[in-house]
Symmetry: C2
Subunit: 438 residues, 2 copies
């Protein structure tokens, strides 16, 4: 089966059976428990085809029969449900000072969630720090030596830095895979999120805060894992967070959704018509360096008045740049003051909210999403930011009522990007990349 929103490209002419399997699988997830007749009626596939597809999905242990039958006139029908038990999808987020790992089953149940400290920050200026500063993503602090003081210095240059990350991530993945093996689960795939520009082929063009450039992280990881038997993919962290919101978040299923990371850097993940839109080379979502005010403060990127300079978390804190740990401490103090009604703090947050609203209005005018989700450090500040964000967004959007767009805080916490990595693996299954019969 089929979508009527297909565009006429050769890629469309894919393997029909694989796609029909995926269609039936999706139908079962959305409508379980359901019968083979239900599937045939709703998909337009004929009953013999549906029976054959369902048999295949049962062989692959993706779907199982419940034994229950539907209560209706005529011959009783065996009901089908998703069989999540034999599989797991893994998502990893690499950031400047930590690595997060999650695993979920086919239905999205969380199987594990780990965080491990990691000294991945780019070294002192000159030691391989890429020269495209300030790319989106959770680009926490470009402080010389941030995080690096406690960790091993690592070889100079990007390659060394990547090598260190590959070793750390591979070790974590091996532990996750081991844990899954104990549960007799097969790993369907792994997606790693990185704060930087990631091409459509998965190459990390540049990750400024990690000091990486032109890194084939997926290839290196697959090698380190000695051909793990599952696909390894790499993506931008804001993209993955958007996928996580679209599949697991409070706004799950919203067709037009934009996620904004709230860190020292600000990045966007753009979902339109139900799918992530990366742009031609995969470098979309770089909202952080859209100039909101030519006379505004200087940005890390060397320009002035960029969104992240006037509305990133750095605009909220008194002392910048800071290490991520220091950011969290100072953020708690800001929240405490706001709760206590400190007028200066409230005015500051309202001002940052207005600037952020100006940035959000770029999105509402250009893309008209149904919802914009604020993530990262914006979440604890949301009670004080949101009123100003919403007022400014409405005032600056040509369509009445902000084009119907709501602005909300993420409910996924700091795991969002890692969860999105797992979501991307599940999306692959939905698109027809099914596990082989074991």
């Amino acid at each position: 089966m089929i979508t009527s929103t297909t565009n006429p490209q050769p890629a469309d002419f894919a393997d029909v059976r694989a796609t029909n399997l995926a269609v039936v699988l999706r139908f079962v997830r959305e409508h379980a428990p359901c019968s083979r007749a239900d599937i045939a009626a709703s998909t337009g596939l004929n009953k013999a085809t549906v029976s054959s597809l369902v048999a295949d999905l049962i062989d692959r242990r993706l779907v199982r029969e419940t034994g229950l039958t539907e209560n209706r006139v005529g011959r009783p029908a065996t009901m089908l449900v998703l069989d999540g038990s034999p599989y797991a999808a893994i998502g990893i987020e690499i950031n400047v000072d930590y690595v997060t790992a999650v695993a979920v089953d086919l239905s999205g149940e969380r199987l594990l969630s780990w965080r491990r400290s990691f000294s991945g920050a780019a070294g002192a200026p000159g030691s391989g720090t890429a020269d495209v500063p300030g790319s989106r993503g959770s680009g926490t602090a470009e402080v010389p030596g941030a995080g690096g003081a406690a960790g091993p210095p690592g070889p100079s240059g990007p390659a060394g830095s990547v090598g260190q990350a590959v070793g750390t991530v591979a070790a974590i993945v091996r532990r996750v895979v081991g844990r899954m093996a104990k549960q007799e689960r097969q790993v369907l795939g792994l997606t790693v999120g990185v704060p930087g520009l990631v091409g459509t082929d998965g190459t990390v063009l540049v990750a400024p805060n990690l000091g990486w450039r032109d890194a084939d992280l997926a290839g290196d990881l697959a090698k380190a894992l000695r051909d793990p038997g599952f696909p390894v993919q790499v993506d931008n962290d804001a993209n993955l967070a958007a996928l996580a919101e679209h599949r697991f978040g409070a706004q799950a299923g919203t067709a037009d959704l934009v996620y904004l990371t709230g860190e020292i850097g600000v990045g966007a993940g753009v979902i339109l018509d139900g799918r992530l839109r990366r742009g031609g080379r995969g470098y979309g979502g770089e909202i952080g360096h859209i100039q909101l005010d030519p006379l505004g403060p200087e940005c890390r990127c060397g320009r002035t008045g960029c969104l992240e300079a006037v509305a990133g978390i750095g605009a909220v804190l008194r002392h910048a740049p800071l290490s991520p740990a220091e950011v969290e401490v100072e953020l708690e103090e800001v929240v405490r003051l706001a709760r206590a009604g400190d007028p200066e703090t409230l005015a500051l947050l309202s001002g940052v909210g207005r600037q952020l609203g100006k940035g959000v209005s770029v999105v509402t005018n250009l893309l008209n999403p149904q919802v914009v989700i604020l993530g990262g450090y914006y979440v604890p500040l949301a009670p004080w930011l949101l009123p100003a964000v919403e007022e400014e967004t409405r005032g600056r959007t040509i369509a009445p009522d902000g084009g119907g767009c709501r602005v909300v805080a993420s409910t996924l916490g700091y795991d969002a990007a890692a969860l999105g990595g797992a979501a991307r693996v599940l999306d692959s299954v939905d698109s027809g990349r099914l596990p082989r019969v074991s």
Copy 2:
């Protein structure tokens, strides 16, 4: 058949046969002449199914056999090509002072192209001019009475204004349909482009320069045409121009493409992953009122420093506001001065180009398209605007080399939106809305 980029929504579970027919039809358009075996091999559909689908397409006169056979080992195969001759798609653009109509056949051949003057401008302030000013689209001049002097004044209020347009357009459509009937062509559908906010259901929420609000133009037109027997749709003119570029333009087939209208108003049509992205309610593409400079000149919308205030055609001309006819006269003078190397004119165009580049960089950072196409009045000015646009875009885009985005002038001329109306009809056919067997 199928795409592997389907998203899991109930809408996917459409009629399989209709979609498979469309898949075969698209394959024939892209690969003609081709055999049934070629189709089966590439689509994964089995040969019996392909034979049945092709027979259906031949019955519908969408595909025909050439009589030629492929030169190869084994049984000779009859070759198939598109049969465009029995059909036509109609596109109409309504603007402040003219209505444009085009008709094309199934393969996109232009069958006719008409332009007719039309006094559709909103009346004097207060006579029904909608209060959401400056929506994107070819919003040429909000001059009180522009064009209205020569035309009938029309009843006061939006309804009257819409009624006048419906009468004019219906008359034109009847003539086009008559012409097509003489060629024994069946009309597959009609799409009307309007400069304003058009909802996903086709309702014109507001078209400021026409003075319309909440207009059911499609419904009114269908009534005026007394149930014409083909679908009537309405869309934003920038959206349609983007569709025209995607199907007929020099950049046809580019998956990620943004079209910018260059009029007094500036609007965008956004194509990502091969399809128009309208946003949740259809109000995306409103790039004209993104603020580029808070201290910039006042905009028609009441804010300051909007893209269209600093980089719309009004920023190039000395006298504003002007009627569209006056704009063209003054534009010719600007082109003449630029050609003559007049320093003041060159500096002016370079400055406008820089501002426009700033706006384009919002698009390249957020969406990373492969190409941005400048339309409307930007086209004659392109030789002088483009260098500054490109330099500014590159300088402001975080991804190196502007993310690979080229900025080019449209080659479709002033017919772009009307052509896009016809393109949208052909897109419907591609998506499975095939003509019935007559």
